[in-house]
Symmetry: C2
Subunit: 621 residues, 2 copies
């Protein structure tokens, strides 16, 4: 079905919305009834001891980015959009006004073009903007000492109820100077946002958003890119991809569309998205001048920013660090400029022989950002596109400029994160992180990979998840996924799933290595299930239960295999886990080891310790 079809969207694919086996979406209520924080609760089966006694394994809650789509109690109508969970919070702050019509000229034109009526989202809301002289950013509130409902929502969400778990034992981590608290409180969230060390991308025109946070002292997040290009894809595919992305764990989604009808596509995506949506406004601006970079103007770009801000985009990638003097530094590179936005701005700078309007009008951009609470994602237009070009003069010159711009944005209380590379060999990754922390004063870093080699087309989700895991450990706050199709073509749903899971692995591994509180609970629970041959629990606690089941069943499809004490990898007589259980039983019978006692002292005692410390501090605010 093409984008020009009369019937834009009918229904989401059931594979995008079906709850995972033994999982249900639950809501934890905060200090007020309209703070309902979603989590996914995975029920586990009992452990059956030798004597036949059943021991209960409590359910494990995990972070849930999937929105209402996986909640069978919510009726989804793509034409209406998802519930506006933030509406009341925005309204009660009483610092915004509803406009009679959209401000941007282009937006007005698209809304009145009769040829687009079939494509247009039918329940358009009038846009909201800060009242004159008001600043509506979460950073502004934070700096006033205000804990917003968004912040409390996030505190509950980050803790995932895990500080009360039976499986709390965890290795102390190495956090490279991060400040990880044992429990995330709303006050901690506020403080980190005020300090600029975390951002809450939350446009006032995106009330459908379930708030989340990006910062080095919180769970590492991942972003999934979607978006059509001139050669393929259409509106319904992109909405479907957004829902698909958040199902597998995308914490934010960037709509990188460059083809036709991107205004309308974006509207559909926003109205149906419970996660922050990011864009690169220069892409659309370039469409408006038929791809002629040198014809871009501040006026046109400004209109595009307002157009997208009034639709509800939560963060903008803006390549304001691509300065004229840096462009020649890229000429001696092996792969020049590989960022689309970067190359557009470089072309503009050369054509006009001056710094770009993104740089020269940066404070005016801040004025727009704070009227809607759009966060900056300061783009790394000069990131390296190959191992050879990593950590070069051009890249680091731009990063220094991004540091300066961060401080300007902060003067306006505009939330800011910084984009990073790219292609970097392992031993040069740490320098990227350290320099970013220093130059940008700990503003959140948001990197694309990095890929740690150039030679893996078709498998770049793997190359880049290696770099992503490492930089996440070193302090990167959000990891932009790469799919297996990177460098080759536009990803399909299969590729999106592969890319997201690779990045969920990287993000979780980074949390574990940093020693982020309670991260190891899920690892402990799945390992216990694995060791006890609770196959279904092992599948369900994994990042992709359906894939695990599918793989297991390829060789042992029968239901009886789900309780068998072996799998096809080793067969019944060679399973080490089975033999170990035999060892324990044998040792116990002979009185050599008191396994029960050993287990008690090893795990359960420690769990008690942790429990004492925790207990729901966020209820006390």
């Amino acid at each position: 079905m093409s984008a020009s079809s009369q019937d834009v969207l009918t229904q989401l694919d059931a594979t995008s919305t079906q709850p995972f086996p033994n999982s249900k979406r639950v809501y934890i209520t905060g200090t007020r009834p309209d703070i309902r924080v979603p989590m996914r609760e995975i029920s586990l089966s009992d452990t059956v001891l030798e004597n036949g006694v059943h021991e209960i394994n409590p359910p494990v809650t995990v972070y849930d980015s999937s929105g209402p789509y996986t909640d069978p109690n919510v009726n989804i109508d793509i034409h209406q959009g998802v519930p506006e969970v933030r509406r009341g919070w925005i309204e009660e702050r009483d610092d915004t006004e509803i406009l009679s019509k959209v401000t941007s000229l282009y937006g007005q034109q698209r809304q009145t073009d009769p040829n687009l009526s079939a494509l247009r989202f039918s329940h358009l809301r009038p846009p909201r903007r800060a009242k004159a002289g008001r600043n509506v950013t979460q950073m502004h509130y934070a700096r006033q000492g205000i804990i917003t409902p968004e912040m409390e929502f996030i505190a509950i969400r980050e803790n995932q109820r895990l500080h009360d778990s039976d499986q709390l034992v965890q290795h102390p981590g190495e956090s490279f100077g991060a400040a990880l608290p044992k429990i995330i409180t709303p006050e901690f969230v506020r403080d980190e946002v005020a300090r600029g060390r975390a951002i809450i991308p939350a446009n006032i025109n995106h009330p459908e958003l379930e708030p989340m946070i990006i910062g080095r002292n919180f769970l590492v997040k991942i972003n999934a890119n979607i978006g059509n290009s001139a050669t393929t894809s259409s509106i319904e595919e992109e909405v479907e991809k957004m829902v698909w992305s958040i199902r597998w764990g995308g914490d934010t989604v960037m709509d990188l569309s460059t083809g036709k009808n991107i205004h309308e596509t974006r509207e559909w995506i926003l109205r149906n998205s419970p996660v922050p949506i990011g864009t690169v406004p220069i892409y659309q601006a370039l469409e408006k001048v038929d791809g002629k970079a040198e014809e871009l103007t501040w006026a046109l770009f400004r209109d595009t920013l307002i157009e997208q801000a009034e639709q509800g985009v939560d963060y903008f990638t803006i390549h304001a660090g691509v300065r004229l003097p840096y462009v020649p530094l890229t000429a001696k590179r092996l792969t020049g400029i590989v960022s689309r936005g970067g190359s557009i701005m470089a072309k503009w700078c050369l054509a006009h022989h001056q710094d770009s309007f993104l740089y020269t009008h940066f404070e005016e951009i801040c004025e727009i950002m704070k009227a809607y609470d759009v966060s900056f994602s300061l783009g790394d237009g000069l990131r390296p596109g190959s191992i050879a070009d990593a950590n070069d003069e051009a890249q680091f010159a731009e990063l220094e400029t991004l540091g300066e711009l961060t401080k300007i944005a902060w003067e306006h209380d505009v939330q800011t994160m910084i984009e990073g590379p790219g292609h970097v060999p392992m031993h040069l990754i740490r320098e990227n992180m350290d320099k970013q922390l220093k130059e940008c004063d700990e503003a959140p870093f948001y990197t694309l990979g990095p890929l740690i080699t150039d030679i893996s087309p078709g498998y770049d989700h793997i190359s880049s998840s290696i770099g992503a895991a490492m930089i996440g450990w070193y302090g990167c706050a959000m990891l932009c996924y790469v799919t297996p199709k990177e460098h080759l073509g536009l990803p399909n749903k299969h590729d999106v799933r592969e890319g997201i899971i690779a990045y969920k692995i990287a993000a979780h591994a980074a949390d574990l290595a940093k020693g982020h509180p309670n991260t190891q609970v899920r690892d402990n629970a799945i390992s216990k299930a694995r060791f006890e041959f609770r196959w279904a629990d092992q599948f369900n606690l994994g990042l992709d239960p359906l894939r695990a089941i599918e793989y297991h069943d390829e060789t042992l499809p029968k239901d009886s295999a789900k309780t068998a004490h072996f799998c096809s990898m080793c067969g019944p007589h060679f399973c080490a886990m089975k033999i170990t259980q035999d060892v324990r039983e044998y040792a116990e019978q002979k009185g050599i080891i008191d396994v029960k006692k050993a287990m008690e002292s090893g795990l359960k005692e420690k769990a008690k310790e942790f429990k004492k410390q925790g207990s729901e501090i966020y209820h006390k605010i």
Copy 2:
């Protein structure tokens, strides 16, 4: 087709043997005509400059583990086995004798059992053994100051002809104390083997072997596991998997079969394998006592070692470090013992309440190893099977014992490497490597992953390749692959390919980060191809050309797209690489940048420098 079928093997699948596009197998001759070192040469297309002038891109040679299978000039007959490239070298040393029949009782029994005649490899060779009092290990020769043909072969192979490349520019690495020379000489190979810092697994009964080396100062290697289990697989599938594994880059292959007919399966694999074959002899020993670990005896195990040594197995995993006092240390673990070999030995130790025959008869094992030149792979029977159990007392106690055993093996001039974990969070990986280097005096480390989280069943090739890349960087010499089926079932061909490519990425990234000489040549060549829109060259220089082509063609199948200056990811107007080329042209026209000059100074000058240093030192020995 089952293993009991009359017609064991007919022909290999063409997908396992077809040369890669624009690749051909070439041979570099050493100081004598029978040293013919295989490499894969990838031809590239010309760069077409704006003025229409063609610039030649010289071919790139890459390490080739695929054996004669990808050489169209070699006729492969699975029933005959592959050519015996080492036969002359072994014969001319005149320190071995040909036995009239196999020594092991079990081997004799299998060879005379008429029921097995249909399964049996038909061209059985009589086995070879060291003459009385002689030691035929490569380490022994090395310590006598002898450079064997195997060592010269390896020196040429490791250099890959790349020190003469146009694309030599490379980041200096961080090698954590490794001693990487600019060019590998045969003398360097000898010295590293003598020192125990590298091994050349090369049984005198495996003359089909194309020699390779495992050590921290050489290219990082990867191992692929194959092997049937009682529930699935058969002989022909396993031979096919071996050929498939080396096609994608497996440097060694472990046959972990535990089912029926493993003696016959092993013979077929060895006679057709140009790479070292490793086994875990205790698996077969356990089969011989019907899975009853406590019934294992030294006599039975000894017979099994000789049986396999006379077939030509190049390295044995031996879990001699699982000592009785360590077994109770595993009782308080979350996942006990997860190594099959480890759990078998633990059970034996408990049943007999004494240290195992592997430990008490270790010197006798050394006597067998040196009579055939089988290398030790000292098994980590107590490796952690979960994040919770990483780096614990049991694991490190065993590692210390492995260090002691290494020194005993070295007294016998027996080549030795050490196996490592397992499941380890990122921040605890380095401790594993450092402790191994210290305890085992830099004997090569050979690790399974490690997986850096437990929560990714179905994607454990990714979790573990992250850990593998990191430990490879820190100094690990060989990485044992993990497939997507890990923890779930027996891998099929698709899984083997996925696992191997994930590990080729890890190994290559480790080489890059260490600063291994000339490693970046391939990255530079592929990035240049990518930047110049030489699509076919980009595909062909990648680790899996066929996958890259397949992915590209999913959205742009036409031949014209292979020369197009864009792909479907961004479409024609938004390709950053295209825009950058426009930027360069524009800048040049306006006289802003002299791109040519910048490129010259950036890349080509440096290449000249490197070239001066190199130039085929290995011809001078």
